[in-house]
């Protein structure tokens, strides 16, 4: 079931109406049932996978608690089960294709089968979420759960099951385990989040996504048209994924559960490290905590740290998809991060937030991130190589004009996103402080006016072409 469908709206309204009439235990039972209905709505067999990994990780957690001396074995089984399933469904064909490609110059051909099966949506997200549980139990940072139902609700919690945020067990499980109370204030906040999420998706992401799709469908776009398309894609992927996260957070809050923020105005980052503190926070912090730090983090020398950073980013790129362009994208960001660190050591940052250099650094970082988005979007390496070698001087008048037109159109659609992020960035400290507490009348009035404007704009400017959420494919 997808968020931007009437089916989901009906499902959600019914779910909320029933949910708050139940006692705590009943709520959790109902949450599991509703989540399974949500996930199995199109492909029922997906349920077998999520149920199998739930049983596996619950059992591994219990095993670690009961037999501490065999913790490593249980962790290994959990890792093998989750990563094995992920590898089978997501990477099997990639490996087969690459083995064929490697052997064909030698005149060898292995009779390896190709997997003709749809990738279970959300598998990358919920396997990582479950791994956070078993790894934390192994490390002794989290007690293994006794209640299977609560654990199942943690794994399959429908607002974030399909595309995150990838929640930590230490954060989500306690919320599921403790009684929840309905609050009108939460409902209002949740409604604002959902409206902002739908606006990002239907107005911004889908409109600029049409521009990006058109440009990336061209055989030989000129320089300016290509980069207008890259700009459009940069906006699309942020608005699209941020939309999903915000709708997920809003839906969860309607159910009395607080999900983590996945984005913190990433295009206002002043450097690579800052960008990764703001972009897909749940995934980047997962890789930080479960890959980067266990590999040594920044505790080793420069070379060792560099290697650790590169491994982390290569894996992060590979997580996104079974294609070399994602690996290249990860490598690019790894190099960018290391270069940024070296630059920071050579030229320490000076001045505060008002420094005149800040806008320049933001613009530079947005440009560098956009180069990365070109690698991310262009799955055909031959086209990518061609695109990266395009010169701004080898252009035509119509290329310049159409490029300017597409850029301006994408920019106009993205104005609310920039306005929101700039405003929120300025008020970050205050916003964070009052997020869960009561708002003043003036703040409520401003938020209501903002949402009223969003709804009005959504009715008129929503895209006529409905695109899937990009991160569904991962």
């Amino acid at each position: 079931m997808i968020f931007h469908s009437l089916d989901f709206v009906v499902f959600f309204v019914v779910t909320v109406a029933i949910y708050w009439r139940l006692p705590h235990r009943g709520q959790n039972v109902f949450l599991v049932l509703a989540s399974y209905f949500f996930y199995g709505y199109v492909h029922t067999w997906f349920l077998a996978l999520v149920f199998a990994t739930t049983v596996l990780d619950y059992w591994a957690g219990r095993g670690m608690a009961a037999k501490p001396d065999r913790k490593r074995l249980f962790l290994g089984l959990s890792l093998a089960g989750n990563l094995g399933m992920l590898g089978f469904f997501k990477y099997f064909n990639f490996f087969v294709d690459n083995i064929h490609a490697a052997l064909s110059p030698l005149g060898l051909a292995l009779p390896l089968p190709a997997l003709r099966i749809v990738l279970p949506v959300g598998v990358s997200f919920y396997t990582f979420q479950e791994l956070s549980y078993t790894i934390d139990v192994y490390r002794g940072r989290l007690a293994a759960r006794r209640d299977f139902l609560d654990f199942a609700a943690f794994v399959c919690f429908f607002p974030q099951l399909v595309a995150g945020p990838i929640e930590r067990a230490s954060r989500l499980l306690p919320q599921i385990e403790r009684p929840r109370r309905f609050s009108w204030e939460d409902a209002r906040q949740a409604t604002f989040l959902v409206i902002w999420g739908y606006f990002q998706k239907l107005v911004i992401a889908d409109n600029v996504g049409v521009i990006a799709n058109k440009v990336f469908a061209l055989q030989q776009p000129g320089f300016w048209v290509l980069w207008a398309g890259v700009f459009a894609f940069a906006i699309q992927i942020y608005a699209d994924f941020s939309a999903y996260s915000d709708i997920a957070r809003g839906a969860a809050r309607w159910l009395g559960i607080d999900l983590m923020r996945n984005f913190n105005h990433p295009y206002l980052a002043v450097g690579p490290a800052d960008f990764w503190r703001r972009w897909h926070i749940s995934l980047s912090s997962w890789f930080r905590d479960y890959v980067y730090i266990p590999l040594g983090g920044s505790r080793g020398g420069t070379a060792r740290t560099g290697l650790t950073v590169m491994i982390t980013f290569l894996l992060s790129g590979f997580w996104h998809g079974a294609s070399w362009n994602y690996v290249l994208w990860g490598a690019y960001h790894g190099v960018l991060l290391l270069t940024g660190r070296a630059a920071d050591r050579l030229v320490p940052a000076r001045g505060g937030a008002g420094s005149v250099l800040i806008p320049m650094r933001i613009a530079l970082m947005f440009g560098l991130v956009s180069v990365g988005w070109l690698m991310f979007r262009e799955t055909d390496m031959a086209y990518l190589w061609r695109d990266l070698r395009l010169s701004p001087f080898a252009t035509t008048a119509i290329d310049c004009r159409v490029g300017a037109y597409l850029f301006l159109l994408a920019f106009v659609y993205s104005i609310p996103l920039w306005a929101h992020d700039l405003w929120a960035e300025r008020r970050q400290a205050q916003t964070e402080a009052v997020e869960w507490s009561g708002r003043t009348g003036w703040q409520i009035a401003c938020e209501t006016a903002w949402c009223a404007m969003l709804i009005s704009m959504m009715l008129v400017f929503r895209s006529r072409t409905s695109l899937d959420f990009i991160y569904f494919q991962f």
């Binding site: 009108w184 409902a187 209002r188 409604t191 409206i195 058109k214 119509i398 037109y405 009223a452 006529r464």
Partner: protein
């Protein structure tokens, strides 16, 4: 007593704020009516929709009668209807083989409802008597009247729909009797959504186009931009624009009664036209037809039986092994150089030689 000391009062206050917020949000889109009334097109200039089940009054493109004259002038032996799938026929080759002109009336990005209108308002309206009218389609398209009738491709029907299209409207109405369409229609009526969109969207894109077009006229700029994104400038994609048929769409008995297929067959019978429905072969995989689900196979069998019982001819490209080996371009399109060969094979099948 403050809210902190009286929880009940605090809850009531929060609930009241919530309700006020929702009401404000619900009322706000009415504000669009102000600029629409001041600067937008007058509501008296709008034409009532020819498909009122689908949409409210809007500014429509005029009917294009040119193909009627073309048909009368050409007096074709074969008329070809369809979307880009019908491009696999080479009209000149077919004309040479049949000895009579072949006239394609092909409209890209269209579906069964569009083809019904082309048949009724062009072929039948012209009064010509071709030997056959050939309709190219994919899988379940003939019983899916909403395919490309809703969304961005809807407006192309303006060029070949009359002011009233009662039969098609009845078919559409049978499909939109569901909560989603009702909600959509209610929102549209309440907030004048489509009218506002039809005014604001073009104004936005045109203002940006004017800003960058400089010395070029707006129309020249748009023309140059459309040429830049023309089909010949696009990459070859394997993925077609139409996915595999799902369970509901392959229920032939349930779908056919609320489709344009009976209307097309009735028209043909009334006007003595021989209809030929050609189900094109979806993109082959390694020289073999793609996998066909049993439910789709049953659907096609029922479809064949249905149209043949009503005097039409049914050809399934999947049955012809020679067609499996034709080279495909993107999606379900065959490469241009393969079109003459396809046309020859088509003619042989028409003539009963295969």
């Amino acid at each position: 007593m403050s809210d902190a000391l009286d929880p009940e009062r605090g809850i009531r206050r929060s609930a009241a704020i919530f309700v006020l917020t929702v009401l404000t949000i619900a009322v706000s889109p009415f504000l669009w009516r102000v600029p629409l009334a001041m600067w937008g097109p007058r509501s008296t200039d709008l034409k009532p929709s020819n498909l009122p089940a689908l949409e409210s009054a809007r500014d429509r493109y005029p009917f294009d009668p040119a193909p009627i004259d073309e048909l009368r002038t050409a007096q074709p032996g074969t008329v070809i209807l369809g979307d880009s799938m019908a491009l696999r026929i080479e009209p000149d080759v077919l004309a040479r083989l049949t000895g009579r002109p072949a006239v394609p009336i092909i409209r890209l990005a269209t579906g069964a409802s569009h083809w019904y209108l082309l048949l009724k308002n062009y072929v039948v309206a012209s009064g010509i008597r071709p030997n056959r009218v050939v309709v190219f389609f994919r899988d379940t398209q003939l019983t899916d009247p909403l395919w490309r009738l809703i969304g961005k491709d809807r407006f192309s029907t303006d060029r070949y729909a009359l002011d009233r299209e009662e039969e098609l409207n009845a078919v559409v109405a049978a499909h939109v009797r569901n909560p989603w369409f009702r909600l959509h229609a209610w929102i549209d009526r309440t907030y004048a959504v489509e009218r506002t969109r039809d005014w604001v969207e073009p104004a936005l894109t045109a203002s940006i186009a004017r800003a960058v077009a400089r010395d070029q006229s707006h129309d020249d700029f748009v023309g140059a931009m459309n040429a830049m994104f023309g089909l010949d400038r696009l990459r070859a994609f394997e993925a077609a624009d139409m996915g595999e048929a799902d369970e509901a769409s392959t229920d032939f008995a349930a779908r056919v009664t609320i489709s344009t297929l009976p209307l097309m067959l009735d028209l043909a019978r009334q006007h003595g036209l021989q209809l030929v429905f050609v189900r094109v072969l979806r993109r082959p995989v390694n020289g073999q037809p793609p996998h066909e689900a049993p439910r789709l196979h049953r659907y096609v069998t029922a479809l064949r039986s249905y149209v043949e019982q009503r005097g039409a001819m049914f050809l399934d490209d999947r049955d012809v092994t020679d067609l499996w080996r034709l080279a495909y371009d993107d999606g379900d399109h065959i490469l241009d150089p393969e079109r003459p060969r396809y046309t020859e094979l088509f003619f042989e099948r028409m003539a009963g030689r295969r």
